[in-house]
């Protein structure tokens, strides 16, 4: 070791500190942006509270209670203060705090996205590795076109066609929702994720029904990740395969499989970690559409149905939280990077 562990540690801390500062500025901006979007809306927030029949004195009173007579900056201050107390306002539909609603629906999305990313990893990585070993040949081109397809499909449309073909016509999978109607509410919601809850409750019928329902939406949601992971894996592998140590390994007469998986692939694991984290984050975007198509009671559907109702509190809070999750995910990956890869220290 050429460096003392001391300087190494301080470098990592410095890097993290710098990251923290930029992230907090970004977060502040995120808040300002959602606040501003909330203010330009053409819907009168007072009217949604008092109703259209209220007289002008009630209107005036609520108007002042909501702090709308204050200058914008003061309003922003109040908004921040409420946020610091975890208060994102109440949702119109349920009348409950938006945050409670989101915590309730979020496990469903987490479940869907996790199954989707498993598809992405299990299909995408071997595809990418294989394409790299076949560079320039027909298989490589075919894989390239397949992954371009994954980027180009409107995910909601594939979802609908999937439902039509595999549910309505072939009856291979379950339809909308998370479990069959007969199994609804049978297991105790411990984690909120039916796959795990049914295992905890040892209710295998519910588990089977849940698996049957999750497989199609998760696969379709994961298509984009398959493409992304496959393409990135391919280019990382190509970079490794052109290195001299690979040549050495081949000259030594190691079997090609060992060269690919034991040598080259092991060296791209850290980069893949970042890519998978990015893909996982972007699944949130697809989830908004897929959940609408499959009537999946998650975060995405909550966001779109709140939007249809003109419930700005719920919409802004959801958008803000999605932004927060994105930033956090990026930060965590950034922090994990030096731990797994000594070269970046």
């Amino acid at each position: 070791m050429a460096f003392s562990s001391d300087t190494m540690a301080s470098r990592v801390t410095q890097r993290l500190l710098h990251r923290m500062v930029t992230v907090s500025i970004t977060l502040f901006g995120l808040l300002a942006l959602t606040f501003m979007i909330g203010r330009v809306m053409p819907i009168d927030p007072v009217l949604t509270v008092v109703g259209p029949d209220a007289d002008s004195s009630t209107y005036e009173q609520v108007y002042q209670e909501m702090g709308l007579d204050q200058p914008l900056l003061v309003q922003f201050g109040i908004y921040l203060q409420d946020l610091a107390h975890g208060d994102l306002g109440n949702a119109l539909l349920t009348g409950k705090p938006v945050l409670d609603d989101i915590i309730r629906v979020f496990p469903a999305t987490l479940e869907l996205a996790t199954v989707a990313i498993i598809f992405g990893i299990v299909i995408g990585i071997p595809m990418g590795v294989y394409a790299a070993t076949q560079k320039g040949r027909l298989t490589d081109h075919i894989i390239r076109v397949i992954s371009l397809f994954g980027y180009s499909t409107p995910v909601f449309w594939v979802g609908m066609m999937g439902l039509l073909i595999f549910y309505a016509w072939l009856n291979w999978v379950g339809g909308s929702g998370r479990v069959g109607l007969a199994y609804e509410g049978l297991v105790e919601p411990v984690t909120g994720m039916i796959l795990i809850d049914s295992i905890i409750a040892r209710d295998w019928e519910v588990l089977a029904s849940a698996l049957n329902h999750v497989v199609l939406p998760a696969f379709i949601l994961g298509l984009n990740s398959v493409s992304f992971i496959a393409r990135m894996t391919r280019s990382f592998m190509l970079e490794q395969l052109s290195q001299e140590y690979i040549l050495t390994a081949r000259v030594k007469g190691l079997p090609e499989r060992t060269v690919i998986w034991r040598h080259a692939f092991r060296n791209i694991l850290v980069q893949l970690l970042t890519i998978v984290a990015l893909a996982y984050g972007s699944l949130l975007e697809g989830a908004v559409l897929i959940e609408t198509v499959f009537a999946w009671p998650g975060f995405g559907q909550y966001l779109t149905s709140s939007m249809m109702l003109g419930d700005m509190n719920a919409v802004m809070a959801s958008v803000l939280l999605i932004g927060l999750m994105f930033v956090t995910l990026n930060l965590v990956t950034d922090m994990l990077y030096p731990i797994f890869d000594p070269r970046t220290r």
Binding site: V145, P154, V158
Partner: protein, 302 residues
């Protein structure tokens, strides 16, 4: 790489030579030839040209009026009279798709026209001046990038109200940051170049240097990036249309067609299958084209 170096040569001469456009034209011809060597890229380009032609000649290609209802002939299956069938109001789906190509093209071009200059300006100014200007602009860019684009567009449309124009504005607001980052990266490299230092020493103003010497140099890569963005613009627009936030009925926007067709999907699959196929085809074409362009300009990615 050759493309970029010859680009550098042609444009840096351009400030003194009058035949800058001629050089650019030769470059374009040269690039097109190499671009079409890849059959996939050629297919992509072909479909994009087809989209342009269909949009241009929509009234002649359509067999029926896209908006006129015929309640005696609703939800009829694809046939010789109606190639892609009819929808719930008896309108011909093929004709609606053909006219929808105009809306798709309208969205793509409007977003691109808005996003290109904004991204270029922010990126070039940020990269050229550096310092606090750079920090400020890049932080703003970070904020916009930290939302998934569909979600941010959703929020903007929710605030502005549903509609085609608002969807365009929302998509534009979410798609300028990558362009700005690209332009900034290019500018940072250019700023150190000898010829920029030379014009600086001659006393050229910052505005002049930016407009005459930096922006033209960033143009080629920005244009490529804009082409690559078109597929995602189409998908975001379709997603907004599907959620009922984009183009409003009776406009034959493809995403909105899928949205209304959804209720009739189980009995009449053609209401959903064909508009979705059109979206897939066009966005795949732009992706193929963008992929080819990137290989051409950056062989390292291969």
């Amino acid at each position: 790489m050759t493309a970029e170096t010859s680009m550098t040569a042609s444009t840096s001469m351009g400030s003194t030579h009058p035949n800058r456009y001629q050089a650019l034209w030769t470059l374009c011809q040269d690039s097109t030839k190499r671009l079409l060597k890849n059959p996939l890229t050629a297919v992509g380009l072909g479909v994009v040209i087809m989209l342009l032609l269909v949009a241009l000649f929509a009234p002649w290609l359509a067999t029926h009026d896209p908006l006129v209802q015929n309640l005696n002939n609703t939800l009829s299956a694809p046939s010789a009279a109606h190639w892609f069938g009819t929808d719930e109001f008896g309108r011909d789906i093929y004709s609606r798709l053909v006219h929808g190509a105009r809306i798709t093209l309208y969205i793509i071009s409007l977003v691109t026209v808005i996003v290109g200059p904004i991204g270029l300006a922010i990126g070039a100014i940020s990269g050229y001046f550096g310092g606090w200007v750079d920090t400020l602009f890049m932080r703003i860019t970070d904020i916009f990038i930290s939302f998934p684009s569909l979600v941010l567009a959703l929020a903007f449309v929710a605030a502005l109200g549903a509609g085609l124009e608002h969807a365009v504005i929302a998509i534009a607001l979410t798609s300028w940051p990558p362009i700005a980052r690209l332009a900034r990266a290019e500018t940072l490299q250019l700023r150190q170049a000898d010829y920029i230092v030379a014009v600086q020493l001659q006393g050229a103003s910052s505005a002049r240097i930016l407009c005459r010497h930096i922006v033209p140099m960033c143009l080629s890569s920005v244009i490529v990036r804009l082409t690559m963005n078109m597929a995602s613009i189409i998908l975001t627009a379709a997603g907004l249309g599907f959620l009922g936030l984009g183009a409003q009925p009776p406009l034959p926007e493809w995403g909105a067609m899928i949205s209304t067709g959804r209720s009739y999907m189980l009995e009449s699959w053609w209401l959903v299958a064909f508009p979705g196929g059109a979206i897939l085809l066009v966005s795949l074409a732009f992706n193929l084209l963008g992929d080819g362009l990137r290989d051409l300009l950056d062989p390292r990615s291969e």
